[in-house]
Symmetry: D2
Subunit: 337 residues, 4 copies
């Protein structure tokens, strides 16, 4: 078999996840090199997985003519620039989300990729989750009927460090962005966003100009409505659920748990909390998205999770920020396209 040759830029948490997916579960691809500005991290990962090369400078990956595709797993502020460089170098690209926090930069990425004629897939892994993919499948088959209401529950077990909150673009760009994509994945394009939010977890988050608890109302272009329930901290762990109501029925996904054991005594019946945290909960989905990317490149298929999806999720996030600031519903058309 002619294996796809891959380079990984960024050996942090998510870079390691993708490296292991390819090494252990995707025989159609092999990793030729990994880079990280913290080169010890690249070295460690290379040794653990038997990757033949590791570098400090990602240009060594871009300049390697043997490498067909790169995974951009570096810090968010570098995603767009590296992706543009990679496109110019003729590499197919898997880029972690968010692509960027500005519409302009994402449009520059789109231009570069189109010009180079390379493939680009964005890391909205939750589309590949077993539960959510099954709901999408039920919707596609018409089992749910015409969509009425979409309800997404997405609550983290702990807030990120306040230093992260200050640079991430805030809850709507760093956390809800996944849910915005899920909303579009299930319900299609969104027309309007309204935010009802508060600071209930930690006042320091409020002092940093952000909120930590939010209900984001959505109007879809097809007429359906939706709501996303976010919180930076759920006492019981990582809460990831979805309910979709339509004219024919309702599909819902409850949380995954470590076991299916129930213990019952005089105090009641106890079952597990949800899986903690996203690496456990979504591990399988990371492998599936990578598998799809490799397949698209090897077999010259269109990628399904595109930079346009990244752009629209960003625009929803920007609309949410505007809604919060101006305390009114905001149309997506008010946000730069």
């Amino acid at each position: 078999m002619n294996k796809l040759k891959v380079g990984i830029i960024g050996a942090g948490r998510i870079g390691q996840v993708h490296a292991k997916s390819i090494t252990y579960h995707i025989p159609q691809a092999e990793i030729l090199a990994v880079s990280d500005i913290y080169v010890e991290g690249a070295k460690k990962l290379a040794e653990e997985l038997g990757i033949p090369n590791y570098y400090e400078d990602y240009h060594e990956i871009l300049n390697n003519p043997e490498i067909d595709a790169v995974l951009v797993c570096s810090s968010t502020d570098t995603h767009a620039d590296i992706t543009i460089e990679a496109a110019k170098a003729g590499k197919h690209i898997f880029c972690e989300k968010p692509v960027d926090l500005t519409v302009d930069k994402i449009k520059a990425v789109i231009d570069a990729v189109n010009k180079a004629g390379v493939k680009l897939q964005i890391g909205f892994n939750r589309r590949y989750d077993h539960n959510f993919a099954q709901i999408k499948d039920l919707a596609n088959k018409g089992k749910i009927g015409n969509l009425q209401t979409i309800k997404i529950t997405s609550r983290d077990p702990e807030p990120p460090p306040i230093s992260y909150v200050k640079v991430s673009g805030g809850i709507f760009l760093d956390m809800t962005v996944h849910d915005f994509d899920m909303a579009r994945f299930i319900g299609g394009e969104v027309e309007e966003v309204y935010v009802n939010a508060a600071v209930l977890v930690n006042p320091v988050i409020g002092e940093a100009g952000d909120v930590d608890t939010a209900l984001v109302s959505l109007k879809f272009k097809n007429g359906a409505i939706g709501v996303i329930d976010n919180c930076r901290r759920a006492a019981y762990g990582y809460d990831q659920r979805l309910e979709v109501f339509g004219s024919n029925g309702q599909a819902s996904a409850s949380n995954d748990t470590p076991t299916n054991v129930e213990f019952i005594d005089e105090n009641g019946a106890v079952t597990d909390k949800p899986l903690y945290f996203f690496l456990e909960r979504y591990m399988e989905s990371f492998t599936k998205e990578m598998n799809e990317f490799i397949d698209c490149v090897l077999n010259d298929k269109e990628t399904k999770t595109t930079v346009y999806d990244g752009l629209e999720a960003l625009r929803m996030g920007l609309a949410a920020k505007k809604s919060l600031a101006e305390h009114r519903p905001v149309k997506l058309s008010e946000i730069e396209q």
Copy 2:
């Protein structure tokens, strides 16, 4: 035992429910008379339950000095006037919701009741439901912690006749009113309402000036936020759920079902749809609210579900209508108090 003597005004569906609760389950009370403008209905109910008197004119009940308390179960447009008359006649009153569709009328009721010094309980029966009462109890005990987010799901199996929609005041006054009360029951006073709604079930409802699918965002005075999910038609039946999130944990109530049987074959595992409809789902709660009313009168306790609750639920409904009309969040303070 000195039984409380009760008269029932209105022998329709809900009048029958209360009559049976008292006859079968509340030995502390007995029904002396029932009235209905459709006197055959009153006669039939009297015969079935062994009630000694039935009338066409409810004044015969109000004028009977033996009767201590009346249940106002007539049509909505008569609730306020009959309640005021009953108060003047010195009767304790259980009045079905909604008390009225205007703030002025409800304030007149409050005045009359205060002047007469009689007790008045409003029929927000869902407060007495086993599931929701248990969640309230968990909240009271501090198990949930500081409230963050309240999510109410309340979907009817079928829309009411369009003739009803035209006079009921619309979905927010005839259907969501229960959920507004539930929101206040769990989360306390509400400061602001925002409506995201659509006509997705039946365009005739839209032509009548109403919506049939809605997500109502709430801001509570204590800082918590909430959302009510309503639909006039759920293909799978009557969907009545509640989720309450707080700093310590989450309490949720799933639907009641006819049985706990699961059947599994090669097509999957099948369980029951929710109980259909409110008479089945909430039957126990109707008995419990009536029991509390009888107890309050007999033992001179304050009623817990008051006309003030009726007023505030109405004001939330009016705020929701205004939000829909003006496409913006509406503060409760904008609504006449």
Copy 3:
């Protein structure tokens, strides 16, 4: 309507249950009299429910020509004799289980009833339970297919007083008898019984010659197999479940609970224990069986839960005792018919 006139013999716990079912839920019948050797109990029940007559001596009920049917709710040792007397008096009879602890006595009952041509229904109320009746219905419709394995879980929350264990005939006659009837209800006639049992709850039960924890294996005549899981004490309450496996699928009933509320915090997700105890768990089934009895008498239908069912459940119990004593499988044909 020509109401059926009923007399109740025995005003204890189960007599009260049936009296309330008829008074509150079965308008086709009325109770003319209640008797109890503890006459104060009869008086109290009569006053509470407005029953016009109460007696110490049940013969006053049997001798009342106005009474069409009697409910035999007295102590077990009197069931057979009173039923025979009632049959001779021409009354239709509802008799609580067990009819008797000996085959001979039950056969005498059968003779008397046949000779008198009156109807006799036995109080195996669990056949009328919503969960188990639905499983029976699934079986009848062929959804489960050819029966393979039937598993009954039936665990009490607390053992009865040791004085009761000594006279009840032991666990297989006072407790498992319900499960033997359920096994026959679902699986048909039984051919062989094998008992695997122990004293694990309370050694005093063992000293009284009984066991408190048992697994009773069953072979059905149709070739299917089954097992009954009994325990005198389940720490978590009253455990009443059923699983039926067939060539097409499996139907199972889980426990009923007071609410459908889940509370989840850092310690896990907690739901309710089962309903405690049989009066709560099976209340609805008591009303349904009584309704069927009244209907059979009024409309001259065959009763469906017959003295033959009582006889066979007894014989299974006797076979179980023999299996335990002789430590071997025992055929039903070894037990007097």
Copy 4:
């Protein structure tokens, strides 16, 4: 790190599972060689996983002084002989179950292993399943209390080929053997076995001298009782559950499913069937058992799942066969030790 050098004897289904566990998930070990009498299978596996050597003759593995440990994944009839040879060659051994179908052979294995002083772990992977391990943990912690009743449900989705049934030793040696081990894992040593069984799935199985549906009653030495529910074919798939009742409470494990999605429409609420089949259901447990074996060898710990466990599970199977043949309870002491 000094990696453990492993050879795998047998490149069939289970050999591949272990090879992938080590390659992908156990960095502490590496596979030096794989053998299979069907050498093409060994070659294919070696190429897929980058194993440097493959052989037809397993002696090349035993003779390789670099190899520390071997996995015996060949056909059942060769397990004992190869294990004895491997012990003589000084290799640590992981041997798939069953070790053998005779007590004598297993005792010869025990002797050889003891003499050689090598480690031997048996492949009872279900002990490492997330659900069952959690129940064991609850039992160890005393949460369940003194054991009363253990119920194991173990139903296959399809019967094996009839050719396999004829040589496997029958259902109690090829299928129930897992459940016998689970019973001992949870409940300790067993004293007596009684079989209630039938041919309900396929008469050809009966003609081959076996049964296909069974309830196996167990008496444990500690006084607890138990039952195993087996069937060669469950219409709804692979049914693997466990319930453990004790003086303090009950722990139960329900089936694992592909997703946690529920779809509800007018026909009811549908959820997934169990995971199909053991490679999906127990995949994680195969990795965990292998991890434990590697750890025991590397760190000179005692293996926890021993050949003695294999012997006792076999003896329970032989007792079950005897019970079926002689239609009586059979004590383990009647079976050769």
